[in-house]
C-alpha cells in the first residue's frame, strides 16, 4: 500500500499514454468528435440561454409568437447532422478496418483467460502469467481463448480491446511504439475477482527482448510441446504423413482450403483445427469417415494451443495432396 499511496501524488493524468501505432489514429478521431460535440453543445446551450433571457416572460399574460415551423430550417438541421455522421462513420470504419486486419508478418502470442488470471504462451515456449513481454516496433498478434466465461483483453495505451470467448479464438494486434509498462485490464465482467484480473504489458527494446526470450523455456517451443502431445494422445496413428492413415494428412494443411463432405470449402485456421479436435464430426473433410473420437475434456485450452501450433508447424514438408 505504501507504494500505491506514493503513486497517488504523482498527479492525475487526463489523457492516457499513447504507445502503439493505433493510438494516434484513435486519438485523432476522438479529438475530432470532441470538437464536433463542443461546437453543438455550445451552440445549443448558447441559444437556450440567449432565448431564455431575451424572450423571458415579461407579463403573466403574454403568449409566444405565432411561429411554428419552417421546412428550410428542418431540412438544414436534418441534412447537416446527416453529413457529419457520414464523415464520422467512414473515419471510424477505416480505423476499425486497420484494427481488424493484422499485417502479414506478426509475432504471434497465445492468450488463455480464466477466472481470474491471464496466461500467455510464446511460440518459443515461454509462459507468463498476468505479464506480457513484447518487443517495441514489431506487430504482435494475440490469439486468445477462454477456459470458462467471457473475458476481454484491454490495453488502454494501445487503444485495443477484444472479448476473449470460451470455445473459440479471437485475436487482436498492435505494434508498440514506446518501451514501458502498460496496464492490461480484463474489460468484460467475469465474476468475483474481475477487477483483480489485471496485469501489465512490458514493452522492451528488441535487444532486451532477445535477452528476455533466451532467459529460458524449459519445455522447449510450443510446437515441440504439441509434437509430444500428438504422440502421447496417439494422434499419429491415424494422421500419418504418408497418406496411409485413416485421417487426413496434416502436413502442409494449415492455411489451405479444404473441402468438406457437404461440398462446402473452408480455410483451415486455428478455429477449424480446434473444432476438429474437440468436435471432430462437426465438419469432416471429404473422403474421410467421421470416426475420430472427441478430445473434449481430455486436453486443456493450453494443450489445444500446443496442438494447433504443432499442426501449423507442419508446413515445411514437401507438398502433399490435402484431399
Amino acid at each position: 500500500m505504501d507504494e500505491a499511496d506514493a503513486d497517488m501524488w504523482k498527479g492525475t493524468p487526463l489523457f492516457p499514454d499513447s504507445a502503439s501505432t493505433m493510438a494516434g489514429r484513435v486519438d485523432a478521431l476522438y479529438f475530432f468528435l470532441i470538437v464536433v460535440s463542443a461546437f453543438f453543445s455550445v451552440l445549443i446551450a448558447g441559444l437556450i440561454v440567449f432565448y431564455a433571457v431575451k424572450y423571458r416572460r415579461r407579463s403573466p399574460d403574454s403568449v409566444g409568437a405565432s411561429f411554428h415551423g419552417g421546412m428550410a430550417l428542418e431540412l438544414t438541421w436534418t441534412v447537416i447532422p446527416f453529413f457529419i455522421t457520414i464523415v464520422i462513420f467512414v473515419w471510424g470504419a477505416s480505423v476499425f478496418f486497420a484494427m481488424s486486419r493484422p499485417p502479414d508478418e506478426t509475432l504471434n502470442i497465445y492468450v488463455v483467460g480464466k477466472q481470474w488470471m491471464w496466461k500467455f504462451q510464446h511460440l518459443d515456449g515461454q509462459r507468463e502469467i498476468n505479464e506480457l513481454h513484447v518487443p517495441v516496433g514489431r506487430p504482435v498478434k494475440l490469439i486468445m481463448t477462454s477456459e470458462d466465461v467471457i473475458h476481454d483483453v484491454f490495453v488502454p495505451a494501445f487503444r485495443v480491446k477484444a472479448d476473449v470467448l470460451p470455445g473459440r479464438y479471437t485475436n487482436i494486434w498492435f505494434q508498440p511504439t514506446k518501451p514501458g509498462r502498460y496496464h492490461l485490464f480484463c474489460a468484460e465482467y467475469c465474476g468475483t475477482r474481475h477487477s483483480g484480473m489485471v496485469g501489465e504489458v512490458v514493452v522492451m527494446d528488441p535487444s532486451e527482448y532477445q535477452t528476455w526470450l533466451s532467459g529460458g523455456a524449459p519445455e522447449g517451443s510450443l510446437a515441440s510441446a504439441g509434437a509430444r502431445l500428438f504422440q502421447d494422445l496417439a494422434c499419429n496413428t491415424c494422421h500419418r504423413p504418408d497418406a496411409q492413415g485413416r485421417g487426413p494428412v496434416l502436413e502442409g494443411l494449415f492455411g489451405k482450403t479444404a473441402t468438406l463432405q457437404s461440398g462446402e470449402t473452408i480455410t483451415v485456421d486455428e478455429a477449424y483445427v480446434r473444432e476438429s479436435i474437440l468436435n471432430p464430426s462437426a465438419r469432416v473433410t471429404a473422403g474421410f469417415q467421421p470416426i475420430m473420437p472427441t478430445f473434449q475434456g481430455l486436453v486443456t485450452e493450453e494443450q489445444l494451443l500446443e496442438l494447433v501450433e504443432y499442426v501449423k508447424s507442419l508446413q515445411s514438408l514437401p507438398p502433399v495432396q490435402t484431399r
Partner: protein, 539 residues
C-alpha cells in the same frame, strides 16, 4: 389570461372513496398512476442506495469498503432496480397512466382492469427481485452475460431473472392498453395531428414495449433453462454460443433505452410548449422523430457488441444504423430550441428541468457518436466512458424529464402547489451534482478505467473522488423534492384548474380532476399548443 377563481373541487378522484380497498381495487387510471408513483419511487430509492454504496467504495482505489463479492452484487442490483423497476415504468406508468386518457379527452384507459392487473404484475415481479436481494443478491451485472450467468455465478440468478420476466408482462400490458386507448378513445375532433406530442411519444414507446419485451422474456427463460437443466443454448461446452445471448439480450435492451428516453422527450415537448406558451416548432417533425427513433432502435443492437467477436461487416452495418438514430434525436433538440425563439419563456421549475434535459441529453447524444464510431468504440466500450454516456441519457435525460413532468403536472395530480423556491433550488442542485458525478467519468473512461471494477489503479483516484462527491450532492438533490412534494399534499396552496396558464385538455378540468376526468366530454376544435386562439376559450 384568465386564471379564474382558485378552488378545491368538492368531488374529485382523490376523495371518491376512502380506505385501502378503494385504492387497491381501483380501476381509475389516475389512482393506478399514483400506485405506480409510490412503487417506482420506492424502487428508485432502493436503487439509489446501492449507488451510494458503489460511490463510497470507489472513493479509494483499494477495494476496502465492501468485499469484491458484495461490490459486484451492488452494481448488479443498482442496474436491475433502476432499469427494470424504475426507468422503464417511470414515465409511462405514472405520468402516462395519469395523462393519456385526459389528454385525449377520455374517461379512462380502454382496459381499466388490465391496467390494475399490470400494476399487480409489476409488484409481483418487484417482490421476486427484492426476495433475490434479501436472500443474498445476484452478481451477474444487469446484463446477465452468459456463460457467466448460466454456469459460473453461484448467486440468485433465477429469482432475479424471474422477477424481471414477470415485470416484463406489466410493460407489455401497459403498452397494449395505451395503443388501444390512443386508437379508440380519442374525443371527437382529437385527430392524430392534434394530439399533444407526449401522446406521440407514449405511442412510440408502447410499440417498443409490445414488440420488444417478449424477446427479453424468451431470453431470460433460455438462461433459466440452461442454468437449471443444462440445455446448451449459450454455453460452448454444451454446444451453445455465448454471443447468441448478447444478440437476444440487446435486441430488447437497446430498444429499452428508447422506452426510457422517448417518454421523457414527450414530456419535454409539453414543458417547452407550456413554458414558452408557443406551439412546438416543427410539430410533425418532432412527432415522426419519435416514431423513427422507435423503429431504428430495433436495428442497432449490434453496437453493444463491437468487441464481442462479431464479423467486421456486421459491425460496420450496426455502426452506420446507429448514426442514423442520431438524426431524429438531433432534430428534436433543434426543434425544442427553436420553440423558445420568440416565445414567452417562463423560468418556473418545470422549465428549468426541460432546459436541464436538453443540455444533458445533448451531451449524452453527442457522446453516443463516439460509441457508434466503431474504431473509437473499441477503446471506450466497457469503460467508464460508457457509464457516463448512458447516465447522461438515462439520468440526465429520462430522470430530468420525469422530474420536470412530475413538477408540471403535480398541481393537476394533487390539486396543490409546491414550494417554488425549494423546487428551483433542488433542480439546480441536481443539475450541478449530476455533472460533477458523471462528467469526470468520461475522462476516466478514455484513460481506460474499466467498468465494474471494485478496485482500480491509484492514478484514477482524483477523478473518482470528484464523482463520488458529485453523487452525494445529487443524492441531496433527489431527497428535497420528496420532502416538499409530500408537504404540499397537505399544506400547499390550492392550484386551481390551470396554474401555469397552459393549454391542453388536462388544464380544462379541475385539479384534481373528477374520477370521470371531465364534467362533460370535450370536443376538440383546435391544434395542440394553440396559444393564439385557445387561450381565451378557457371555461
Amino acid at each position: 389570461m384568465s386564471t379564474g377563481t382558485v378552488f378545491m373541487p368538492p368531488r374529485h378522484y382523490l376523495n371518491d372513496g376512502y380506505g385501502i380497498r378503494s385504492w387497491l381495487l381501483t380501476r381509475d387510471h389516475k389512482r393506478i398512476a399514483l400506485l405506480y408513483l409510490a412503487a417506482v419511487t420506492l424502487f428508485f430509492f432502493v436503487g439509489g442506495a446501492f449507488a451510494v454504496l458503489i460511490r463510497l467504495e470507489l472513493a479509494t482505489p483499494a477495494g476496502d469498503f465492501v468485499s469484491d463479492e458484495t461490490y459486484n452484487k451492488l452494481f448488479t442490483m443498482h442496474g436491475v432496480m433502476m432499469v427494470f423497476f424504475f426507468l422503464i415504468p417511470s414515465i409511462p406508468a405514472t405520468l402516462g397512466n395519469f395523462l393519456v386518457p385526459i389528454m385525449i379527452g377520455a374517461k379512462d384507459l380502454a382496459l381499466p382492469k388490465l391496467n390494475l392487473a399490470s400494476w399487480y404484475i409489476y409488484i409481483l415481479g418487484g417482490l421476486f427481485t427484492l426476495y433475490a436481494l434479501i436472500a443474498g443478491g445476484v452478481d451477474t451485472g444487469w446484463t446477465f452475460y452468459t456463460p457467466f450467468s448460466t454456469v459460473s455465478s453461484t448467486t440468485n440468478v433465477i429469482p432475479t431473472a424471474l422477477g424481471i420476466f414477470i415485470t416484463g408482462f406489466s410493460s407489455i400490458l401497459t403498452g397494449l392498453n395505451f395503443i388501444v386507448t390512443i386508437h379508440r378513445m380519442r374525443a371527437p375532433g382529437m385527430t392524430w395531428f392534434r394530439m399533444p406530442l407526449f401522446l406521440w411519444s407514449m405511442y412510440a414507446t408502447s410499440l417498443i414495449m409490445v414488440l420488444g419485451t417478449p424477446v427479453l422474456a424468451i431470453t431470460i427463460l433460455l438462461v433459466a433453462v440452461e442454468r437449471l437443466f443444462h440445455f446448451g443454448f449459450f454455453d460452448p461446452r454444451l454446444g451453445g454460443d455465448p454471443v447468441l445471448f448478447q444478440h437476444l439480450f440487446w435486441f430488447y435492451s437497446h430498444p429499452a433505452v428508447y422506452i426510457m428516453v422517448l417518454p421523457s422527450m414527450g414530456v419535454v415537448s409539453e414543458l417547452v410548449a407550456a413554458f414558452c406558451r408557443k406551439q412546438v416548432f416543427g410539430y410533425g417533425f418532432v412527432a415522426f422523430a419519435s416514431v423513427a427513433i422507435a423503429v431504428l432502435g430495433f436495428l442497432v443492437w449490434g453496437h453493444h457488441m463491437f468487441v464481442a467477436g462479431q464479423s467486421v461487416y456486421s459491425a460496420l452495418i450496426f455502426s452506420a444504423l446507429s448514426f442514423l438514430v442520431a438524426i431524429p434525436s438531433a432534430v428534436k433538440v433543434f426543434n425544442w430550441t427553436a420553440t423558445m425563439y420568440r416565445g414567452s419563456v417562463s423560468w418556473q421549475t418545470p422549465m428549468l428541468y426541460a432546459i436541464g434535459f436538453i443540455g444533458l441529453f445533448t451531451i449524452g447524444g453527442l457522446t453516443g457518436l463516439f460509441l457508434a464510431s466503431v474504431g473509437l468504440d473499441v477503446h471506450v466500450t466497457d469503460t467508464y466512458f460508457i457509464i457516463a454516456h448512458f447516465h447522461y441519457i438515462m439520468v440526465g435525460g429520462t430522470l430530468m424529464g420525469y422530474l420536470g413532468g412530475l413538477h408540471y403536472w403535480w398541481p393537476k395530480i394533487s390539486g396543490r402547489l409546491y414550494n417554488e423556491f425549494l423546487a428551483k433550488l433542488s433542480a439546480g442542485i441536481i443539475f450541478l451534482g449530476f455533472n460533477l458525478t458523471f462528467f469526470p467519468q468520461f475522462i476516466l473512461g478514455y484513460l481506460g478505467m474499466p467498468r465494474r471494477y471494485h478496485a482500480y489503479p491509484p492514478e484514477f483516484q482524483v477523478l473518482n473522488v470528484l464523482s463520488s462527491a458529485g453523487a452525494s450532492i445529487l443524492g441531496v438533490g433527489y431527497l428535497i423534492p420528496m420532502l416538499y412534494l409530500m408537504w404540499s399534499l397537505r399544506y400547499g396552496k390550492l392550484a386551481g384548474s390551470n396554474p401555469w396558464g397552459a393549454v391542453g385538455l388536462e388544464w380544462t378540468t379541475t385539479s384534481p380532476p373528477p374520477t370521470e376526468n371531465f364534467a362533460e366530454s370535450p370536443v376538440v376544435t383546435w391544434d395542440a399548443y394553440d396559444y393564439q386562439t385557445t387561450v381565451t376559450v378557457e371555461s
